[in-house]
């Protein structure tokens, strides 16, 4: 198992190098000049432009700029934002908890509903529940997210008044960030009602963000279960006189989990990169919105540093998925 883990970790090195190059190159390939953007409507003199250009190091050849960036990265220095002059590292970690909290809630919502739904649909294949569920999943998958979000806001926030429209916390509560996770910080603050407010703020964004993963997980679980249920070893399990619950829930599900974990891992990776639409609609202060804003401002250090951080997080998620494969399927585990 440790050997397996090390072999997975070894693949990190070339991937990391590639991500560094791509994140550095990506923003520079885009048309537009950060200094011009900074100058805004008024413009600036040629002299001032050149001073700034030298200050940011744009006058030197690209390989030199990359080398400086790369050696910085290896030392944990992602540079400072052109716009705020704060270290990219700090900015990232002040926003990341919000994204992480929302992503986790969304994926928990998606797994909690999608997995059982897929299992039930597979066990009762062709019956009413199966058909109803799979058509609903298709609708969920193809629905535009912003429209779905607005629909939910109209019904639950507008008509029913059950949930807030945007943000992470009610205005009457104020407390310091300890972990950056509202659910935890609100409990730590000891203010009554703060936790409830945090939960209420999370509900709609989680549902909206979790809808597509939910549909994908439900469909993937169903098809994986259908395949596994026709295997010989399921017949063996039934021949032992095991209950349907144990046959489906243990013998079949354990095998069906392998493709399902793949799609869960992919979904988590996407969600952690920030959900631009959801974060924008619910004014959620997360990574997605920050990245988009930075791209528009041509804030090179933020874009390349943010991309790199997201890529590393996705790599870590993939590593966890690989480890889970090994835990679930002994054939993958190398001895």
């Amino acid at each position: 198992m440790i050997k397996y883990l090390l072999s997975r970790l070894a693949t990190f090195v070339p991937t990391f190098l590639g991500v560094c190059i791509i994140s550095f190159g990506f923003i520079r390939v885009l048309p537009g000049d950060p200094i011009i953007v900074m100058a805004g409507e008024r413009g600036m003199t040629q002299e001032r432009y050149e001073t700034l250009s030298r200050q940011f190091g744009f006058d030197r050849p690209l390989p030199v700029q990359f080398w400086e960036y790369f050696t910085g990265v290896l030392q944990g220095d992602l540079g400072r934002s052109f716009v705020t002059n704060r270290p990219v590292w700090d900015e990232f970690f002040s926003l990341f908890p919000a994204t992480l909290e929302l992503a986790l809630c969304a994926i928990i919502f998606a797994i909690a509903l999608g997995l059982p739904a897929g299992i039930i649909a597979a066990v009762y294949r062709g019956k009413f529940f199966d058909r109803a569920l799979m058509s609903t999943a298709l609708v969920g998958y193809s629905m535009p997210i912003f429209w779905w979000a607005l629909l939910l806001i109209i019904v639950f926030s507008g008509n029913l008044g059950w949930t807030p429209v945007s943000g992470r916390m009610g205005l009457m509560y104020f407390f310091d960030d300890v972990t950056g996770f509202m659910l935890i910080d609100s409990l730590l603050s000891g203010q009554s009602g703060a936790f409830k407010s945090a939960v209420q703020h999370l509900i709609l964004p989680s549902i909206v963000l979790g809808t597509i993963p939910l549909a994908v997980i439900a469909r993937q679980t169903r098809s994986a279960m259908l395949e596994v249920l026709s295997e010989d070893y399921i017949r063996t399990a039934r021949a032992k006189g095991l209950s349907p619950g144990r046959v489906n829930g243990l013998h079949a599900l354990r095998n069906a989990m392998i493709p399902v974990i793949t799609v869960i891992g992919l979904s988590v990776g996407t969600l952690l990169a920030g959900a631009i639409l959801t974060e924008t609609i619910f004014s959620w202060p997360g990574i997605g919105k920050w990245m988009v804003d930075s791209i528009f401002r041509r804030d090179y250090p933020v874009v390349q540093g943010g991309l790199l951080m997201i890529a590393v997080i996705v790599m870590i998620v993939n590593l966890i998925v690989d480890v889970l494969y090994g835990l679930i399927n002994p054939k993958i585990r190398k001895r």
């Binding site: 070893y233 021949a239 032992k240 006189g241 095991l242 209950s243 354990r254 095998n255 399927n329």
Partner: protein
């Protein structure tokens, strides 16, 4: 006293192109401690009828029977939980493909202990001890180590031994072995058959051996049921069947055995088993039978009395003196 009694069992599958009758009014009788072989070509319904007995058919199958009882208990009237207490304990089954019949995600020890936990009162320690005892019984070397192996780490022969250990773990009174040696090497085949018959003698359980290998039948079985296209066509003690087959299909099968060949070319049975859409009206074997006449093609044959091996035939072979073959009303002979 009959352990397993099945009367007029039929199994139909709903397929995309209509209904398909895989088993057609089959009777099965097994006494305690008896070895019955069911032989037939692929598609003759021998596995399906036993899977129906175990209640293991997929949801597309419809099972009907006039009687289906195990040890005097009606299998058809049982509730799901009741039947699951019986299946895997008193009535167990092993399958053709040992490599795919074990769950790749669990150790073989876990998979056997699971059956013990379901059907016995043994505690964890006793279950472990019983597993080791079982592995020794089926001839798995260093059982303690093998218990924590996954199926993919064992050979096909070892996996089939694990399957057998699992099937006999709760001391079944009837074991159904569905072509247990087909997927194995020839050298291993003999070992597994010896093991099965040895265990059968030791424990006194009934054994149903499903096979298409007449050699296996001759060596192991006491009684033989021959199935063709979902019907039982003959049922005799093994020596009598080999000496005086009464159904032309049995006779043709025996004639096709290499050991019995008298000419250089091995005799074959022309044609194939009828499928879903070309089932004959009368005798199902009539298109391939060299004795068939007009009656055979139109009128379904009667089941002959026991002295004629319960042969499902209008014109049974080798009729002994004093036995009158059954005739179907209105069939001109």
């Amino acid at each position: 006293m009959s352990l397993l009694t099945i009367r007029n069992l039929s199994v139909e599958f709903t397929t995309g192109s209509g209904r398909f009758r895989a088993v057609d009014s089959v009777d099965v009788d097994v006494r305690a401690g008896e070895i019955l072989a069911i032989v037939g070509e692929s598609g003759s319904g021998k596995s399906v009828s036993m899977l129906a007995t175990m209640g293991l058919l997929p949801w597309t199958a419809t099972v009907t029977a006039d009687e289906m009882s195990f040890d005097g208990r009606d299998l058809r009237a049982m509730s799901g939980p009741e039947r699951r207490r019986l299946v895997g304990a008193d009535l167990s089954m092993i399958f053709q493909e040992p490599m795919s019949s074990l769950n790749p995600c669990f150790t073989v020890g876990f998979q056997i202990k699971e059956a013990l936990r379901k059907h016995t009162d043994l505690d964890r320690k006793q279950r472990h001890a019983r597993c080791i005892e079982l592995f020794e019984m089926v001839g798995i070397p260093s059982p303690e180590k093998r218990l924590s192996a996954f199926p993919h780490q064992l050979s096909g022969g070892m996996n089939q031994r694990v399957m057998i250990a699992m099937a006999i773990s709760c001391r079944p009174r009837l074991l159904i072995a569905d072509e247990p040696t087909t997927a194995l090497d020839v050298t291993i085949q003999a070992q597994i058959l010896d093991l099965l018959t040895g265990l059968q003698k030791e424990t006194g359980m009934g054994l149903i051996l499903i096979t298409h290998d007449m050699g296996v039948v001759a060596e192991t079985a006491e009684r033989v049921a021959v199935q063709y296209a979902g019907q039982k066509v003959e049922d005799q003690p093994v020596a009598d069947l080999f000496a005086t087959p009464h159904h032309p299909y049995t006779a043709a099968l025996l004639a096709a055995l290499p050991e019995r060949a008298t000419e250089k070319r091995l005799p074959t049975i022309p044609g194939v088993v009828p499928g879903q859409h070309d089932r004959p009206e009368g005798c199902l074997f009539s298109p391939r039978c060299k004795f068939a006449d007009e009656t055979c093609r139109i009128v379904p044959p009667p089941v002959q009395p026991r002295p004629l091996g319960l042969a499902r035939c209008h014109y049974p072979l080798e009729v002994p003196e004093g036995v009158v073959p059954a005739k179907v009303e209105g069939a001109s002979a």
